[in-house]
């Protein structure tokens, strides 16, 4: 049974990780027809016209990003796959790579060819060691078959791919921090500009794309931009994989056209909430984005509709929060995450995440002081837009969203020193401290 229109269409084909099986379904035909044959500029144009946007969270137009690579640079260029997948609530790239590694390799080959790169790196989060083994096997197979190497698919175009395993740092999902890490430094972000397209890996022109983005490239190049635009909306073209988690009946990865109803995704595809629980809020795009209350459940899953509601489509990590969960506790959990993952480079993020976590901890445990809610809002406001990279924003936005939609739960905590809602979970005081 097909699980989605495009990337998940054949994802459950038995043994798809094997080159032979991948080729039987038309695998590497697009690369064979393109690399060394179609002008690179034309590949970029197709991707631009398709409207494909970065699926890792930022939603930046992919073709445009590729177009920023300077044509005349004498330096080597690099294509890097961001397979760090560390945004809480997101687990799509893991399934994509686990089941269809060759599609990623083909996407990297096409993207590499488009920007004139001869080497690609896949940066995997450290926990994905088994995925590294799957990819390394696929790379070895592709190399023996002449798909990778000095003359990729007999085109005369050299292309090689290597995997690189991270070691536990959320910040490495930020593209410049990823590049620092890949170069052998602590994974701390770098100032932009220069953007990686101009000065990225080893100060050479580099494109960093998310796994899902790169995997959408082969079908786009094969079938064309108009075909890809049969799904989605004008500004949000194509399909997207949403990772649904929380107390729904059937959590998991779902590929749907962009613009799909979030209500339908949760109530129909995921079978609704587990017995006895009601939906209270949804975080639509990974823990970094502001949550939406149940009243906004029917928001279409696309970039523009989410922005109109004051949140983001992000990575597509849909976290469903039930009516027996305390928002203060849930937010404390998220804030603790950012406190733990702050790289320490800039003050607003390093200190701000710590303070927000402190305030939330004492509110949650009945030790809230008068003015704590305003303090929380103030700290968040002093991180947002003032931190060195997007991690600070990612820490501040959930706080602002929760205060906007569920302020009464915070006030109840501050005044009554206890939870407004019944708690079905035991909290662990001082987790990760």
């Amino acid at each position: 049974m097909s699980r989605g229109p495009l990337l998940f269409k054949d994802i459950d084909t038995p043994n798809l990780t094997a080159l032979e099986v991948y080729r039987r379904g038309g695998g590497y035909e697009t690369a064979a027809a393109t690399v060394g044959k179609t002008p690179a500029e034309q590949v970029i144009e197709v991707v631009k016209a398709s409207g494909l946007r970065g699926r890792g969270g930022a939603g930046f137009p992919t073709g445009l990003k590729w177009g920023f690579v300077p044509k005349a640079s004498p330096k080597p260029r690099y294509i890097v796959c961001n397979a760090d997948e560390s945004e809480p609530g997101t687990f799509k790239d893991r399934e994509l790579m686990e089941k269809n590694p060759h599609l990623l390799l083909e996407g990297m080959l096409l993207a590499g060819y488009a920007i004139g790169s001869h080497v690609g790196y896949v940066y995997l989060r450290g926990e994905f060691e088994y995925i590294q083994r799957i990819l390394d096997r696929a790379i070895a197979e592709a190399r023996s078959a002449g798909i990778l190497g000095t003359s990729s698919l007999g085109s005369g175009y050299a292309f090689e791919i290597h995997t690189h395993l991270g070691a536990g740092a959320y910040i490495c999902g930020e593209e410049t921090a990823l590049l620092s890490s890949l170069e052998g430094f602590r994974g701390q972000p770098r100032l932009k500009p220069p953007f990686p397209a101009v000065e990225g890996l080893y100060a050479c022109p580099t494109v960093v794309n998310n796994t899902e983005t790169l995997m959408a490239v082969p079908p786009i190049v094969k079938h064309g931009a108009a075909w890809y635009r049969q799904w989605g909306t004008e500004q949000s073209a194509g399909t997207k994989i949403f990772s649904v988690s929380g107390p729904v009946r059937k959590p998991g990865n779902y590929e749907v056209p962009l613009g799909y109803s979030m209500k339908k995704l949760i109530e129909d595809d995921c079978g609704g909430m587990v017995t006895g629980l009601q939906l209270k809020a949804v975080i639509p795009g990974g823990s970094s984005v502001p949550l939406l209350p149940a009243a906004d459940l029917d928001t279409p899953l696309d970039y523009e509709s989410m922005n109109a509601k004051g949140t983001f489509l992000g990575s597509g990590g849909v976290i469903v929060i039930d009516d027996q969960t305390c928002i203060v506790d849930a937010l404390w959990n998220i804030t603790r995450f950012y406190e733990h993952e702050s790289c320490g480079k800039c003050t607003p993020c390093r200190e701000g995440t710590y303070w927000m976590s402190e305030v939330l901890e004492r509110l949650e445990h009945g030790g809230g002081k008068p003015g704590d809610i305003d303090l929380l809002a103030d700290v968040a406001d002093n991180i947002l837009g003032k931190s060195f990279c997007a991690l600070g924003d990612a820490a501040a936005m959930p706080v602002q969203g929760a205060l906007k939609h569920f302020r009464e739960e915070f006030e109840f905590h501050a005044q009554r020193k206890t939870c407004l809602v019944n708690r079905r979970r035991e909290s662990v005081a001082g987790a990760n401290r």
């Binding site: 560390s86 926990e127 395993l165 052998g184 849930a330 959990n333 733990h340 979970r425």
Partner: protein, 169 residues
């Protein structure tokens, strides 16, 4: 940032690569135009060899990739998965982030604490288990989850965790 205060732990005075590890180090260095880039892969090789990264291993890594020891120490302490202290034979890393928490990871962790008699970061006296809270493992739809070393165990509850502990000798 993630390790908090790290005090170097004593270990063997010197260490040397096994033949297999030496080949792997050479292979790692060949993947990059700059030797420094191999520091993480080589740290992983060292951790695979000795289970953790004693100072002697960090020195060996520094020598292998041509970096000062202090730099390698700075890198190893930045990433949470590099063990700067010995860990038990089975390293239980329980995800505590929101999706897992919504599905009962807090209760699961308490259960493990009670069962093993150690808390976050603790190792059982027999050296069999190290228990640790970790952040999101990208298994949110299969929550709650934990990793034993690199192996994922998902959709857990107390009974499944008990059965798992039995298996892990």
């Amino acid at each position: 940032m993630s390790h908090g205060t790290v005090m170097p732990v004593e270990g063997p005075e010197t260490l040397a690569w096994s033949e297999k590890a030496r080949a792997d180090v050479a292979e790692a260095l060949a993947r990059y135009p700059v030797p420094r880039s191999a520091v993480m892969p080589v740290l992983w090789i060292a951790q695979r060899e000795w289970g953790w990264l004693p100072p002697a291993a960090l020195r060996l890594v520094a020598e292998s990739v041509g970096l000062p020891e202090s730099e390698v120490f700075g890198i190893a302490t930045f990433y949470t998965m590099f063990n700067l202290k010995p860990v038990g034979r089975h390293h239980l890393q329980v995800c505590m982030t929101l999706s897992c928490s919504l599905m009962g990871s807090d209760r699961l962790f308490r259960h493990l604490e009670r069962k093993l008699g150690v808390g976050h970061g603790g190792t059982t006296p027999d050296g069999r288990f190290t228990l640790r809270k970790v952040e999101c493992l990208a298994a949110c739809g299969m929550a709650p989850c934990l990793q034993v070393g690199f192996d994922y165990h998902e959709n857990l509850d107390e009974a499944k965790v008990d059965a798992l502990l039995e298996e892990l000798k």
